[in-house]
């Protein structure tokens, strides 16, 4: 598979009066065309900042301080402002968590979709409007010819997110960044939007970066996932392998906290003790060490690099990377599927 997007050692910092916050540090991952990569992590782990960094939407006091973002072979961080604008909304589009505030409240959704089209395509206002109606229809919005004139506050949450997706897809992007696209929606609508995104991706063959903290959604939608903790990627691999044979203690803990069905009745819900560290004054060594039960003297001295994991050979062909000096042995983790088979 050829790489569509390849992020290499990205570093984004925020400069505040109290010091420098390293929100994203040495983050690397890649997405192939037609592939969905999920960026998973708790809030504050740096996943949204990573997404914003790709389109260079970081504004002061934030700054991208290092790394490269290769999109179709071109380093987005080296482009001029006019050139990056040509990419935004055109080759790479983005949808956001809260569709109500992400739409301009005083313009109709039609006007806003038309703007997205006409920023990148030389078409008349009338043609763009017709395109907007077609797009809304494809997104499953009923009576799109009327809805196109509605203002954002008049639509339901699900309809708004559909309209947001219509706007994002208006220029047929090669990459779609979806920043927690369903968090603000109710459960039924969440499933519908997810289904819609999957269908559209299959039809357009575009790559997708899905940012979420919902592991269920990851399992359902993504091909691969990168787990972020305290601004760094701690583990990355295919969904099959990550969900069944997580190597990083944090990933393992995260999974254990959701695999409730796998627990014997009466046992306490597992949780990861402690809380995420402050990014303001990063500790030396592994950021997770404080909360890790496999802590080791080396963990306090050095930051473990994200290295290709060679250990288990049970998943041939899938590259797996983990940032841990003492990765858990895959067989040490309770695996519902396999334990039943055994």
């Amino acid at each position: 598979m050829s790489e569509l997007l390849s992020v290499h050692k990205l570093a984004t910092c925020f400069h505040s009066r109290r010091g420098i916050i390293r929100a994203v540090d040495e983050v690397s991952f890649s997405i192939a065309a037609g592939e969905t990569l999920a960026l998973v992590g708790e809030s504050g782990s740096g996943k949204s900042v990573t997404a914003a960094s790709i389109l260079r939407l970081i504004s002061a006091p934030g700054r991208i301080e290092g790394g490269e973002i290769l999109f179709q072979g071109q380093d987005l961080l080296k482009l001029g402002t006019a050139a990056i604008r040509q990419i935004r909304g055109n080759r790479i589009a983005m949808i956001f968590q809260e569709p109500l505030s992400a739409f301009n409240p005083v313009q109709s959704i039609g006007t806003q979709i038309v703007e997205a089209i006409r920023l990148h395509r030389k078409v008349s206002r009338k043609q763009a409007f017709e395109q907007a109606v077609t797009l809304l229809e494809r997104m499953g919005i009923p009576s799109p010819a009327q809805r196109v004139h509605e203002f954002p506050h008049r639509l339901s949450g699900g309809m708004r997110q559909r309209a947001m997706i219509a706007m994002a897809l208006s220029c047929e992007p090669d990459l779609l960044i979806a920043d927690e696209p369903t968090t603000a929606l109710d459960v039924t609508t969440q499933a519908q939007i997810l289904e819609l995104l999957k269908e559209l991706q299959a039809a357009n063959g575009m790559g997708m970066l899905l940012i979420t903290h919902d592991l269920g959604m990851v399992a359902e939608t993504a091909h691969r996932a990168a787990v972020m903790y305290a601004g760094r990627v701690v583990e990355e691999g295919s969904i099959d392998r990550l969900f069944t044979a997580a190597r990083h203690p944090y990933t393992a803990g995260l999974l254990a906290s959701v695999n409730i069905e796998a627990l014997a009745p009466g046992t306490k819900l597992p949780e990861i003790p402690g809380s995420a560290p402050s990014l303001l004054n990063p500790v030396q060594g592994c950021a997770f060490a404080e909360r890790c039960n496999a802590r080791h003297a080396l963990c306090d001295k050095q930051t473990p690099p994200l290295a290709t994991d060679t250990e288990p050979e049970s998943f041939p062909g899938s590259r797996h990377r983990v940032a841990c000096f003492l990765p858990a042995r895959p067989d040490a983790i309770p695996l519902p599927v396999e334990s039943e088979a055994a």
């Binding site: 914003a52 939407l57 990419i87 809260e98 005083v106 109709s108 703007e115």
Partner: protein, 331 residues
């Protein structure tokens, strides 16, 4: 879209006009109270200083007002005359008060609307510049200008403008609305009025301009942090486009709210500016009636200017509803 909007706007205007009736009645009652509390009886005040009206007429007025009757009957009489647009007679000017006021109203409206236009445009421009160069020298310079303008007495600013622009530089006329010696028509007349209007309108606008600049700066900075601005950036919009079509468009809403709150204050300012520049409007009329102690005329101006404020406020609300689709005109 706007054509289907139209009947709703009419309905909205009709409802708001009905709501204005109790406000106007309230102001009339306030006027009546002032008359009651004033030294001397109502007719003394209404007729102006002694000698202005004939004793026979004053006696007739006393019976007409029913001064021997209880106060609430007098109030009803007064309200009735107000709502039949009978604001009384000015003995000093020998004309009905309403005629005098309607005569002077267009000049005041011209001055007010021009000043509001200048204040809005210049305030928006300064506010946007301030927000684009936040904490840099242009922003600081505008902040100092705003601070000083807040403390400037309007009438004094007008006088100093006369000293500079009419006296020293001789660029613009110092008073009146037209050149009395010349008899212009058509375009030359319009140009003459414009030349005369520049100083008073700019003087009146200065304070509001500063208020709006400060407000627009805050609103723009707030807008820039909004999610929909990030969406616009993600779409690939240029910064100019984001500023004009997204941030500024939304910053107009608080600006309009402020404008609505200040209509009565702008009218107050017009009174002062008119008397500085001898602009023949309501303010000048008020000034003349102060000099002549023509209290009846003064009360008429107070009532009428409140009505003007109410009407302009209704217009501002209608424009607001037009600019902000989240406000529904019916409900």
């Amino acid at each position: 879209m706007s054509s289907s909007h139209f009947p709703t706007v009419l309905k909205f205007l009709r409802r708001r006009l009905w709501l204005a009736v109790p406000v106007i009645a309230g102001i009339a009652i306030l006027n009546f109270l002032i008359l009651q509390l004033a030294p001397g009886d109502v007719v003394d005040v209404l007729a102006g200083e002694a000698g202005a009206a004939t004793p026979e007429y004053m006696a007739q007025l006393r019976t007409e007002f029913g001064l021997d009757r209880p106060i609430y009957v007098q109030l009803v009489f007064y309200l009735k005359s107000v709502f039949t647009l009978d604001l009384g007679f000015s003995f000093r000017q020998n004309m009905p008060v309403l005629t005098l006021i309607l005569d002077r109203l267009p000049a005041t409206l011209l001055l007010m609307l021009t000043a509001m236009g200048i204040a809005l445009v210049a305030g928006l421009a300064l506010g946007v510049i301030s927000s684009l160069y936040v904490h840099r020298w242009a922003d600081r310079l505008i902040a100092v200008f705003v601070l000083i303008t807040y403390a400037l007495p309007t009438f004094w600013l007008g006088l100093m403008a006369i000293v500079l622009f009419s006296g020293r530089l001789g660029w613009l006329p110092s008073g009146n609305m037209t050149d009395i010696s010349a008899d212009y028509t058509g375009l030359t007349y319009a140009w003459d009025v414009t030349r005369h209007a520049i100083l008073p309108a700019a003087t009146l606008a200065t304070f509001y301009l500063a208020v709006y600049a400060k407000l627009v700066r805050t609103a723009m900075l707030e807008s820039y942090g909004a999610d929909f601005i990030r969406t616009a950036r993600a779409k690939g919009a240029t910064e100019t486009r984001i500023t004009l079509f997204h941030a500024l468009r939304n910053a107009l809403l608080p600006l309009l709210t402020m404008l609505g709150l200040q209509v009565s204050s702008i009218l107050s300012g017009a009174v002062l500016v008119e008397s500085v520049f001898s602009w023949p409007g309501l303010g000048r009329l008020a000034f003349e009636s102060i000099l002549a102690r023509d209290l009846n005329l003064l009360l008429g101006i107070l009532l009428f200017s409140s009505v003007v404020v109410t009407l302009i406020n209704i217009c501002v609300d209608a424009v607001y509803a037009f600019l902000d689709p989240r406000i529904e005109l019916q409900h």
